[in-house]
Symmetry: C2
Subunit: 281 residues, 2 copies
Amino acid sequence: MASSTGNGDGMLRNIVSGENGIRDPEPDIREDQLFVQSVARALQVLSAFHRSQSPLSLTAIAEASGVGRSAAQRVVHTLQTLGYIERDEAGRGYVPGIRLLDHTHDYLRLNPLIERATPVLLDLRRNARERIDLSLFDDLRMVYAARMQSKRETFFATLVGHSVPTLCTSGGRAVMAHLPDAEVDDIIARSDRRPFTDKTITDPAEVWERVLEARQVGYALTVEEVLVGEVALGVAVLGPSGRPLGAIHIAGSLSEWTPTAFAERFAPLASEAAYAINRVR
Amino acid sequence: MASSTGNGDGMLRNIVSGENGIRDPEPDIREDQLFVQSVARALQVLSAFHRSQSPLSLTAIAEASGVGRSAAQRVVHTLQTLGYIERDEAGRGYVPGIRLLDHTHDYLRLNPLIERATPVLLDLRRNARERIDLSLFDDLRMVYAARMQSKRETFFATLVGHSVPTLCTSGGRAVMAHLPDAEVDDIIARSDRRPFTDKTITDPAEVWERVLEARQVGYALTVEEVLVGEVALGVAVLGPSGRPLGAIHIAGSLSEWTPTAFAERFAPLASEAAYAINRVR
DNA sequence: CGCCTTGTATCGACAGACGATACAGTTATA
DNA sequence: TATAACTGTATCGTCTGTCGATACAAGGCG
């Protein structure tokens, strides 16, 4: 049941799952004088939900977060009191709490890129009539911060906070095109290579090819690398220093577009939008 | 220079500010055996940004969160290491970190209401061609969890996590219409009465009138109570037990609609959508 | 019906967080 | 230019507050 031919479903990553193939935030936490363990434990507990598709029981949280049962209990109690964790509707187990959205709001509000980008993206969506996303570059992954749907979408793919590997998304490749070679190598080397679909390109040489192409034309195009039937075009958005901070995506369906037609139609629009965002201070 | 005529700008709440008139989450935290102070401190530190419009310095965080400078320093250091706080682009001060969006994603993913509502809302937006929101009922406030823009919007009003008082929004009134009288009284009594605009209705009797009306017709309509020029229609979304969990909003501009025309056009659509969401188990 | 899992609660011991304090680097004021 | 007022960073000893162990009530399930 585990590995069959090697190209079966088991090898492909499931995009709807919380498991997005990105390693844990805590690689080798040094125990500084300044590093507060109890704070880290609290966030570990909250992070237990990253890998879950359903409400978690207390003991499930404990083992998922690698914290003792007692500690988990007390932390959960505290987080629940503060509204960061809630009981499930049905009363069976815990789910993340609504107070988390307050911090989401703070993050989005205080992110200058999002502020600059929002009006431009709304314009872009009106003109393009396809799905528009803004994703933020976070090392190995691109995190969606603003999503503007146009047609019917799968549920999970439309959520703020969803993240996909930098390696195999149009926006990620566009971002890599603006990074020094060494950093690109580094990202490719450290990235998870498991494919999402049969078309996902994860071979270092092939990825590099796409990155170089993106350097030439100013945008990156991916076809069915994350979602079957989807073509996506990404253009990087740069910070004042010229460093890429994220990317604009335009995504469409292969049932309506050929990849080349899609690129011809939307590359100018996306580039223009990215330019508008970069230009504003 | 403080209070002039009493109806000046100073009396109105600024919707773009982080200050949304909602009291702090911590009213009177009892120090249980089970309550972990250091966890609460960490979240207090993160909450310092709720009232800020710009990056905060270490000392600013300390005093905004009511935590000693030393403690704030260590907590910030930890949160930064974990990615929950970042340095500002310009290097002056701190802002919330991108890792917060991971928890946003978890919250949205694991919220069954959002899962059920998303496809319905996308349909609704396609049919209505106006802005569609899903807000979640959280005591005195309604928190926006999904936003589907259609036309140009002001930046801050479009963010996930934005919250507005239950008292004076269409969705909040629709929710109150499904609550027992005592709870409605309670909410009205505890709510902040500061108006957003000249048209904001905060008088208890008048609010009750609107709630009763919503009980009759099944929806609530607000005109310019939060944003000048905006008319909004809200319909409650119920949980399995019949308790209101949130609301669907449709919002339009008074430059295109009279309030009555807006209600006639969109009340059926919104009700139908809410019904579809309620129905699905 | 007893068994297993759920969440809740208490207590003593000692890990570890707290406040005080100090220092270096940068921006503002005299 | 001097100097004051900030920034962020770092160290240390005391004592606070968290940890693990342990126990118990309330459902759910065979």
